[in-house]
């Protein structure tokens, strides 16, 4: 669980980034052999709950403080 959200609920939330933050995170490791992949969702740069919750890279721990917004995944 991360910030009160269960892993099975992760797909229902995303964290919105500024373009500068997206550029900063792109291609950077959030955990061993795992890399951020900021993409545009609903017209905004964003990363996903899995990247935030599993981030262990001290350089990017600020992502854990990003505001979360609801997201409806495409089917």
């Amino acid at each position: 669980m991360f910030r009160g959200i269960l892993p099975e609920e992760y797909s229902q939330y995303i964290a919105v980034l500024t373009e500068a933050q997206a550029i900063e995170l792109t291609g950077q490791e959030y955990a061993e052999f795992s890399y951020f992949n900021p993409i545009i969702l609903n017209g905004e740069w964003a990363i996903t709950m899995e990247e935030i919750a599993n981030c262990t890279n001290e350089q990017f721990m600020w992502v854990k403080e990003l505001p979360l917004i609801p997201y409806i995944p495409a089917e």
């Binding site: 892993p7 951020f36 899995e50 990247e51 997201y71």
Partner: protein, 264 residues
């Protein structure tokens, strides 16, 4: 002889299995024996030599999941975006998650002689997602497999970008062991196989045999498109299979999943 080799020497581990288990730091004896039997069976049946990469997804974390059993020195996965790793495999989030094999399709795959294999543990709703594939842009050549796209079809494709060259059929269950298998450019040279059964083959000769100048991805078509939501518990990439290979591969991978108590 390394630590793991000494520990496992009593069990007479295959050298390839030993190398993989060592670098992946796997000591669980159920997994050790399952991987050892997998390697021995793949070698005995001649499937091993047809694989550039084999990803068994054992060990339950990104580090152990990344290694290429066929050759741990190359084509190890890097995970991008959101993934969930556990003992039953690796699950991309369907939003931005994919794994890069570092296998450039144009440089490494053999024209008219290719396979992409994926053991899916997820029966997902129909949607335009790609479980394995490579493409540069909408007009580039493409290679890929889908198990239940938005139209409800299973698809294996090796298309030019301008000609839609596919094996396609309706499929209602995206779980199981899928293989996109290409052995020629002729009719029925490209097939989509699920659980050892050919679902569909191409009905017209494939006249354009290109591959994209892009890496084969697991869980997407590109780093920004067609993200998949199916848990992968085994995948391989290599040359095309004979009918006997397909039958043997189905048995071997099924036994591997049963040994790990994660078969679907």
């Amino acid at each position: 002889m390394n630590y793991f080799s000494i520990i496992n020497s009593m069990n007479k581990l295959d050298g390839s299995a030993d190398a993989f288990l060592s670098i992946a730091s796997i000591t669980d004896q159920i997994i050790v024996q399952a991987v050892n039997n997998l390697v021995k069976d793949l070698k005995t049946t001649g499937i091993w030599s047809k694989c550039i990469a084999i990803y068994p997804f054992v060990g339950g974390n990104a580090t152990s999941h990344r290694y290429n059993l066929a050759d741990t020195s190359q084509y190890n996965l890097t995970f991008n975006g959101g993934w969930t790793h556990n003992s039953t495999g690796a699950l991309p989030n369907g939003t931005n998650g994919f794994a890069n094999t570092a296998i450039n399709a144009n440089a490494r795959l053999t024209q008219s002689n290719t396979h992409l294999a994926f053991y899916s543990r997820t029966a997902a709703a129909a949607a335009d997602r790609v479980s394995m594939g490579a493409i540069v842009g909408s007009s580039s050549p493409m290679v890929g497999i889908q198990f239940r796209n938005a139209a409800g079809n299973a698809v294996a494709q090796n298309a030019s970008g301008t000609a839609n060259q596919t094996a396609v059929t309706v499929n209602s269950d995206s779980s199981g062991f899928f293989i996109g298998n290409k052995t020629s450019s002729a009719i029925v040279g490209l097939s989509m196989i699920r659980n050892g059964v050919t679902l569909a083959s191409n009905v017209a000769a494939i006249t354009t045999n290109n591959f994209p100048n892009a890496n084969v991805l697991i869980g997407a078509y590109t780093s920004t498109t067609f993200f998949d939501n199916k848990q992968v518990a085994y995948a391989s990439i290599g040359t095309g299979f004979t009918a006997q290979n397909i039958s043997d591969y189905q048995t071997i991978v099924t036994n591997f999943q049963i040994a790990l108590s994660r078969n679907v």
